[in-house]
């Protein structure tokens, strides 16, 4: 059977309206009384045989008139019927039937505008009365206190239910997330085979049946070969039997029971937080009745069991939370101690992995990827990251079968069959991922789950599978599932990180305010330096010049030299102030990039330089200089400095040679200025670009030692790099690399 066909069939099964079968099982009678006028609205056909009343004639008649004794019995109950969704077991009543006085167990429920009264004759061998059941219930409750694990608890429940009911086999059946059921505890005699650890496919109990199990906790089928008793009515609407105890079940289910070799079955639902957690499922090879009273006791026991189960699971969860909370506290401390939260995580991989019970982890940002523990390799993690960013932007994503949702994971299932991820920032995609390795499991299915339903040839009737032979399936590419406490722990980690990121952002904002303020102060400072510090130097130079000019003749040779030195020093100091101002200015002013014709720029600078030194003979070799996008004022300073240096440091050469060229490489345009001048020792190369760093004595080469610092600063502000190569007395080459995106970006 193809998957598609099976889906179709199961779908058909799932559509069967099992809450309105139009019939009941034959071990009881049903009457539905319209509450508004107390007339009989529905009646099971078998009241004729037992109560001696023809249903056809009773329908529409007042209850009190048609069945006066019964009507009196239920007077008070009809005045206060239970709400929809619950069934009230009333009491054992005695009825005068055609076979004499008989005992009947009565239950009442609500269906639409009717109260449904169901009467069940107790089985002949019934150990009736609470007195008989009480010791078992009491023992169960006492033993519960000592049961430390869920397993023990389940085993106890199975034992005691079987003791009270006498079924051949009692199973505790637990649903997984896909509604497959697994038998997790069993108590049985030798009549029926063991089903312990077997798994039953979700299709065995379709959705609408599960809904009925959730709503109506008990169901009994005393004999799978029963003949249904029709419900008669004058109304075209079928009676909703959702809360009924006698509801007739689907013929498919009866066939299923017969195929399984069990003619009687009973089930009690185990609910957790109102949801179906599992079932206590009882089977008997031969037909078997269980009194309503015993069934109620079983339900009572099951409810106690459910509460205990909840308590046990909550305790386990709380213990896990506590344990993970400690890990989380440590991680928070790590993150707080580091500059960036990511360092706090990647430097403590053990704690990070422990938090989710993972064996591998990865931390990803737009630019970086850290793989920790048993994780897929970096390329695989990055591809997974792409997939996650596209499909799973939710805060937390968890799966224990990654290769199913993300097929490329098949190649690294041994490391990452399970994945839980947290998305930290949507704007700057970053994730933390945890991995769990593949756990190959053998699942013992009760029959091939792919053949859960068979279609009879030429018929639209469905048949459940005939074989319940163990059918082993090897489940691959699955990890152990992530439990709730682990999911919560990573979710909390995410909240903590988001908190940290937010706080960082606030700190950064405060810092940038602070920076803006100090930048303003710096500007005010340099403005005042510019005005007030420059002036005295200018005055010294000016007055000394005047002195020299007007009184120079009266001064001695020495005196004139002193005046020259004063002029020289003051001039240097003034120039220094100018250069410093320019340097600080450069760091602060906004770049205004536009296209710059470097060829023209270099030609102009060269022309200006040479005009001042007609005596120099320089051989120029100017290559192709492509235009760049840069701040024209600043980029001019760069080339002025480089050419100025090249001319200055070739001064001692009789044949000076300066080469200017460029190269495009790796998204950059690299300009170079090469000279055959005095060069420098590469061990001082780091000092070259520092402020006030000079490699020559002032007498040899004038200068303030700020030119190359300016060059580097400008180039770096353009997102580029500046460096140099050279050797003493062998010339120097200065390189300036500017990123090409600056060029055509406008």
């Amino acid at each position: 059977m193809t998957q598609q066909m099976q889906d179709l069939d199961l779908d058909a099964c799932a559509r069967e309206p099992i809450h309105i079968p139009g019939s009941i099982q034959p071990h009881g009678m049903l009457l539905a009384i319209r509450l508004s006028d107390r007339t009989i609205a529905y009646a099971s056909a078998n009241i004729a045989g037992t109560l001696g009343v023809d249903p056809a004639s009773a329908l529409g008649q007042p209850f009190a008139q048609a069945l006066p004794a019964l009507s009196r019995e239920f007077e008070a109950d009809l005045a206060d019927p239970p709400p929809s969704g619950s069934t009230r077991t009333l009491r054992t009543i005695r009825l005068d039937t055609r076979d004499g006085i008989s005992a009947y167990e009565a239950a009442i429920s609500r269906s639409g505008e009717c109260a449904v009264i169901e009467l069940e004759a107790p089985p002949r061998d019934a150990a009736s009365g609470l007195d008989v059941l009480y010791p078992t219930l009491r023992r169960f409750v006492e033993q519960l206190q000592g049961a430390s694990t869920v397993d023990t608890l389940c085993h106890l429940a199975a034992q005691d239910i079987r003791r009270m009911t006498g079924f051949d086999r009692v199973l505790i059946y637990r649903f997984d997330a896909q509604w497959n059921g697994t038998v997790i505890a069993e108590d049985r005699n030798e009549v029926l085979p063991s089903y312990l650890d077997l798994r039953f496919p979700a299709s065995d109990i379709p959705a609408q049946a599960r809904e009925l199990y959730r709503r109506n906790r008990q169901r009994i089928i005393p004999d799978a070969n029963y003949v249904p008793v029709p419900i008669q009515s004058r109304s075209p609407d079928p009676l909703d039997l959702s809360d009924s105890v006698l509801r007739s079940v689907s013929p498919v289910h009866l066939e299923y029971m017969r195929n399984m070799g069990t003619l009687a079955s009973m089930s009690i639902s185990i609910l957790r937080d109102g949801d179906l957690w599992g079932l206590i499922s009882c089977h008997n090879k031969e037909p078997k009745r269980v009194s309503l009273q015993v069934r109620n006791a079983c339900d009572f026991l099951t409810q106690i069991f459910s509460l205990q189960l909840e308590a046990r699971e909550n305790t386990a969860l709380a213990e896990n939370r506590l344990r993970l909370g400690t890990v989380q506290t440590r991680l928070l401390a790590h993150m707080a101690a580091e500059d960036h939260f990511i360092a706090g995580l990647v430097n403590h991989p053990e704690d990070l992995m422990l938090l989710a019970g993972a064996e591998g982890a990865a931390v990803l940002t737009q630019d970086h990827c850290w793989c920790l523990g048993r994780a897929p390799d970096e390329e695989q993690v990055k591809a997974l990251f792409e997939w996650l960013s596209e499909h799973h932007q939710e805060d937390v994503f968890a799966t224990d079968r990654l290769p199913q949702v993300y097929p490329p994971a098949k190649t690294f299932a041994d490391r990452a069959s399970g994945l839980v991820s947290i998305s930290i920032s949507k704007a700057h995609a970053s994730y933390v991922l945890w991995f769990r390795p593949e756990v190959v499991q053998t699942v013992k299915w009760s029959g091939n789950p792919q053949k859960a339903v068979e279609e009879e040839a030429g018929s639209i009737r469905l048949h459940p599978r005939r074989s319940f032979e163990i059918w082993k399936e090897t489940v691959r590419e699955h990890s152990l599932p992530w439990d709730q406490s682990e999911i919560e722990a990573v979710k909390e980690l995410r909240n903590a990180i988001v908190g940290i990121v937010l706080r960082r952002a606030e700190e950064l904002a405060a810092l940038s305010d602070e920076l803006r303020r100090s930048n303003k102060e710096l500007e005010a400072f340099s403005y005042s330096v510019s005005h007030d510090l420059r002036a005295p130097f200018r005055h010294i130079v000016g007055y000394s010049e005047l002195l020299k000019k007007q009184e120079g003749g009266d001064l001695s040779e020495k005196g004139r030299r002193y005046v020259d030195t004063i002029i020289d020093s003051a001039y240097t100091a003034g120039t220094l102030v100018d250069n410093l101002l320019r340097f600080s200015h450069m760091g602060r002013t906004a770049l205004r990039p536009r296209p710059v014709d470097v060829t023209a720029l270099v030609a102009e600078i060269r022309h200006r330089l040479l005009a001042n030194m007609p005596e120099r003979h320089i051989e120029w070799d100017i290559g192709d200089l492509p235009p760049v996008k840069a701040d024209p004022v600043l980029i001019r300073l760069v080339f002025e400095n480089l050419l100025d240096n090249a001319v200055k440091y070739t001064r001692t050469r009789t044949k000076a040679r300066i080469e200017i060229g460029s190269e495009r490489k790796d998204g950059e345009t690299i300009f170079f200025v090469r000279d055959n001048g005095v060069g420098f020792d590469m061990k001082y190369v780091d000092k070259l670009f520092g402020v006030f760093q000079r490699l020559h004595r002032v007498e040899e080469f004038e200068g303030t030692g700020i030119g190359l610092a300016n060059v580097r600063r400008i180039v770096e502000r353009h997102g580029g790099r500046a460096w140099a190569e050279g050797a003493p007395d062998r010339g120097a080459t200065f390189f300036v690399a500017l990123p090409n995106h600056n060029e055509g970006a406008a």
Binding site: H539, V541, Y543, L581
Partner: protein
Amino acid sequence: MAELKPILLVEDNPKDLELTLAALEQSQLANEVVVVRDGEEALDFLYRRGAHANRNTIDPAVVLLDLKLPKVDGLEVLEKVKADPALRQTPVVMLTSSREESDLVRSYELGVNAFVVKPVGFREFFDAIQDLGVFWAILNEPPPRPNGP
């Protein structure tokens, strides 16, 4: 006979004043140099009011205006001059110690004719002043040369 237009020098710092005068002197301009020491006085001179209400000089060939001045600063003087249709034609050269770009930008916005950052070196200063004086006082307004050939 046309009277030679004076040069109006607005400078508060006595040292800068002396040095500027020395530079102007060396450039051997025939123009009279009128010195005022703050922005307010500069405006009084230009508008013939206050101490200068009865001046008999004609309007200046050029105003050499320091940027930082007491009372009314250089930029304000510049703004007033350039906003006044009667004075707008008078060339104004801003002299300043400052390399601050904001001053420069503001001056150009206000319509300054030239902007000179006073160089540290006296010779450059001298050259600048001489160029300015010659350009604005002589070349723009060739003076008659009563004693010349």
